[in-house]
């Protein structure tokens, strides 16, 4: 450790203090540039910006969540350079990772908020319950709603990590018993970057932070996600796409089609409506991703993915619920048909009687 205080170090200094070589650092910058589909020259710009950037204060709030986002980030990549980037930021508050507990932990959050007011990055994972004044999730006696509002007030930007924070996610699934909502439904006056996924890809989380530190706010799609990581459709990038085109599908998870690696559309793959970097960056340090492992995409980076009609139901299959409505429709249709036929018959009879009466009258007149 250098004599400089840790919080005063730049990211470059912090990385060197952690034993990361210049070569390793540049490799990370090149990989980040590549992830963002930037030209090779941008790696140098990223390196220069990160080298000089002060370690930003990060306050990480965990609300209605499962800790999967933190697990994803810390477990799968540690002790990689991406993990060290996280080491290089000043993570001042994080339930799971911080050593402090109880009042000490909350004091650390309050101190960081005060000291870095207007400059810190607020990371949120988990949705926020709104029903019954938000009593369904509290931290140190404070509702998630109150804590989010308080922390957001002094934040430079908010990163909503995971689909729960970005769109409500699993807690907001029908019937949404706690009235769970996304960060963006509460905070309207701060820039919000949604890093969706259940969980998000670790390198995407660090990549977004690197992008933010280097270039400022990234370009976002209409769902508030960085286009650099969420601009591509899983189906378009899927290596099984040729089998979709040929009409070759796995029908079950253990049939010949599955063994041959055919398309998983019939098994409920939501790749065609999902935008994420899974098919390109993959998981576990580029090892694989769900489709490669034989399971269809569940669309976890999309809003309401939990209510898309079932993970194993093909996308083309409707969300029709029960067939009772359709059966009732058949009954109603038949009843209307019978009614209209009866009306038609009585109309015919009336018309006949009218014609007969007219004919009889004419006959009488000619007599």
């Amino acid at each position: 450790m250098t004599s400089k205080k840790r919080q005063d170090m730049t990211i470059g200094e912090a990385l060197r203090a952690n034993g990361v070589s210049r070569r390793g650092f540049l490799k990370f910058c090149a990989a980040t540039a590549s992830l963002m589909a930037l030209p090779p020259g941008a790696a140098t710009a990223i390196a220069a910006a990160l080298e000089k950037a002060k370690r930003p204060s990060v306050i990480w709030l965990s609300f209605q969540e499962c800790t999967g986002c933190t697990e994803s980030l810390t477990r799968s990549h540690s002790p990689s350079i991406e993990g060290l980037i996280f080491d290089a930021i000043s993570l001042d508050y994080h339930h799971t990772l911080q050593a402090a507990a109880g009042h000490g932990a909350e004091a650390a959050r309050e101190e960081a908020m005060k000291e870095h007011h207007g400059k810190y990055i607020l990371v949120v994972d988990g949705s926020i319950p709104m029903k019954d004044d938000g009593v369904y999730s509290t931290i140190a006696g404070m509702t998630n709603l109150a804590m989010l509002k308080e922390a957001a007030a002094g934040a430079a930007a908010i990163v909503a990590v995971g689909t729960c924070a970005a769109y409500g996610g699993l807690p907001a699934a029908d019937p949404n018993p706690t009235g769970a909502v996304a960060v963006s439904e509460i905070i309207k006056d701060k820039p919000i970057i949604n890093v969706s996924g259940c969980p998000p890809i670790p390198v995407v989380i660090t990549g977004v932070l690197a992008q933010f530190l280097t270039f400022g706010l990234p370009e976002l799609d209409d769902l508030g996600r960085p286009k650099a990581f969420y601009g591509q459709n899983i189906h378009d990038r899927c290596y099984r796409r040729p089998f979709y085109e040929r009409g070759q599908f796995a029908e079950t998870f253990d049939d010949e089609g599955a063994k041959k690696g055919w398309c998983l559309y019939k098994l409920g793959c939501k790749g065609p409506i999902t935008y994420n970097a899974c098919a390109t960056t993959k998981w576990n340090e580029g090892t694989s991703f769900p489709i490669q492992s034989g399971h269809g995409c569940i669309g976890c980076s999309e809003p309401d993915f939990w209510d898309m009609g079932g993970f194993y139901k093909a996308l083309s299959q409707g969300k029709l619920g029960s067939a009772e409505g359709l059966a009732a429709a058949a009954g109603i249709g038949a009843a209307i048909g019978i009614g209209s036929a009866l009306l038609g018959s009585s109309g015919q009879k009336a018309a006949k009687a009218e014609i007969k009466a007219k004919l009889d009258k004419d006959m009488e007149a000619t007599k």
């Binding site: 040929r246 409506i273 996308l315 029709l320 429709a329 048909g337 036929a341």
Partner: protein, 218 residues
């Protein structure tokens, strides 16, 4: 609720309800209408000629082949194309299987489906253009004719755009538009000339049987 959620859920459900109510209303209502009793002595039974007429009228009388060639070629292209696209495209098969509780049947490769879709769309466009330009067709065409053509064309075109992931919109938007256009078709079928899909067999049979009774060769 996104547009796609609406199209996959309530939109689909309500359009199917309208389709089913409409079909049963029209079919039951028509079949139960009392026909005039025929007091003449039958020269032969009506069943055989009725069934024959159902099949015989898939092709016109030799005298009319040439004058109706455009409609014959276009009509067959359109209907065979629609059959291939609707019943042999894997995502559609899954939809039917799910709705009707049927086992999944074999599908065709997507390039054949796209070819069938293109031919179907081309024949529908040709029909619309002919209605607009042919002096006789123009006079006998009404709103129902044009609307039925276009309402049939929309799901084909939106389906092809969605399938090809055409970059004019996001895939889920195109898919939602495709589903909504199908739902419009479902609603339109029982209310329009597209109801010929329900009536062409019984009406051919009825006419063939009536002719047969009177000794007309069918």
């Amino acid at each position: 609720m996104t547009l796609l959620d609406f199209a996959r859920g309530p939109g689909m459900q309500w359009s199917l309800i309208i389709l089913i109510v409409g079909i049963l209303w029209r079919v039951v209502g028509t079949l139960l209408l009392s026909a005039e009793k025929d007091y003449s002595q039958a020269r032969q039974g009506g069943t055989g000629p009725g069934i024959r007429a159902v099949f015989r009228r898939f092709w016109p009388h030799p005298e009319f082949v040439k004058p109706t060639l455009f409609h014959m070629v276009g009509g067959y292209t359109l209907h065979i194309g629609l059959f291939v696209v609707i019943f042999l495209f894997a995502p559609h098969i899954l939809w039917f299987a799910d709705l009707l509780g049927l086992p999944v049947w074999a599908n065709l490769p997507n390039n054949i489906i796209m070819l069938a879709g293109a031919l179907t769309a081309a024949s529908l466009v040709a029909f619309v253009l002919r209605r607009m330009t042919h002096p006789v067709m123009r006079r006998i065409s009404g709103f129902d004719d044009y609307a039925s053509n276009i309402v049939t064309l929309l799901p084909v075109v939106t389906g092809m755009l969605a399938f090809a992931h055409t970059p004019i919109a996001r895939y889920e938007t195109l898919l939602a538009l495709h589903l909504l256009s199908v739902e419009l078709l479902f609603v339109w079928i029982p209310l329009s000339k597209l109801a010929h899909a329900l009536f062409f067999i019984p009406s051919r049979y009825q006419l063939g049987a009536a002719f047969g009774r009177r000794g007309v060769k069918v």
